[in-house]
């Protein structure tokens, strides 16, 4: 049986996780940690969708979560390819090195 909690608490948890991910994106310079923080942020958005779905008792929240999941998978696949390219060309994982790509 599912729990009944005020949706305020669930959204606050999602907000805290989102803000932790945002702090990670702002502070870290290593691309790997930037991508991990982005994953955290997207996961928090998914939690908010699940919470909304649980309020109405409808499956649409889970469907939006599945779309977020597909988006996260696509984003990670391409971004990790770019990480490999950056680490090969500049021999570093510094995100500032990406500005030297020049197209």
């Amino acid at each position: 049986m599912a729990i009944e909690v005020p949706v305020f608490h669930v959204l606050m948890l999602a907000g805290v996780l989102f803000l932790l991910g945002l702090a990670g994106v702002l502070v870290r310079r290593n691309i790997m940690f930037l991508l991990m923080s982005l994953e955290i942020m997207m996961n928090a958005a998914g939690l908010a969708f699940i919470a909304a779905g649980a309020v109405w008792g409808q499956p649409d929240g889970q469907i939006m979560f599945m779309f977020i999941l597909a988006l996260a998978a696509a984003e990670v696949a391409v971004a990790l390819g770019i990480v490999l390219q950056i680490s090969r060309r500049f021999d570093t994982l510094d995100i500032d090195a990406a500005s030297d790509f020049n197209g």
Binding site: V7, L20, V27, N30, G61, Q85
Partner: protein, 175 residues
């Protein structure tokens, strides 16, 4: 109600703690293990909120596929002790001040916005995989979105192959 709140915040606090560990670790593989803990805690919350299918997807796709992809890349890049030292050079304590102020402002905005919907409870009923599948493919409401997600995944597949293939080819020529 109170018991439900306690049950909710146990994995919630685990998720917050593990996520805080992810953004402060210097070793990438340890951060990834903490990320797995965070994702599993969120999966438990999904299950308790009545979304078992989303919980299973969280474990299988997020913790099982995406994090493993990260781990593969960490292994390919061979991040060792030098990367940890470089990481501690990049991660000065003073760097946290500016982002912390911005995040605190956003936290106040979030708390204000969410406080307006206080008094709304989650329904407490399970919505199983059958209901999700029927809503996704049944009336055709999400047909276009499903097609777009398929195109997105195909584009990501082609892009990842293209980027990764050049890396592997030139690496083979080097030694």
């Amino acid at each position: 109600m109170t018991l439900d709140l306690v049950l909710f915040w146990i994995p919630g606090l685990v998720a917050i703690g593990a996520t805080g560990a992810v953004i402060t670790r210097k070793n990438a593989s340890r951060a990834l293990i903490y990320l797995v803990v965070s994702l599993l805690a969120v999966a438990v919350i999904f299950f308790m909120l009545g979304a078992p299918f989303a919980a299973a997807l969280e474990v299988v796709v997020y913790a099982g596929a995406i994090v493993v992809l990260f781990l593969f890349v960490v292994m390919m890049l061979n991040l060792g002790r030098s990367s940890v030292m470089r990481e501690s050079r990049w991660l000065q304590p003073g760097m946290w001040i500016g982002p912390f102020i911005l995040v605190a402002i956003l936290a106040v905005v979030f708390a204000y916005a969410f406080a307006n919907i206080d008094g709304v409870d989650t329904k407490g009923e399970m919505v199983g995989p059958r209901a999700v599948g029927e809503a996704l493919f049944g009336e055709g409401a999400y047909l276009l979105a499903v097609e777009l997600a398929g195109f997105l995944l195909l584009a990501a597949l082609v892009g990842a192959y293209h980027l990764g293939r050049r890396y592997l080819e030139e690496r083979r020529e080097q030694p």
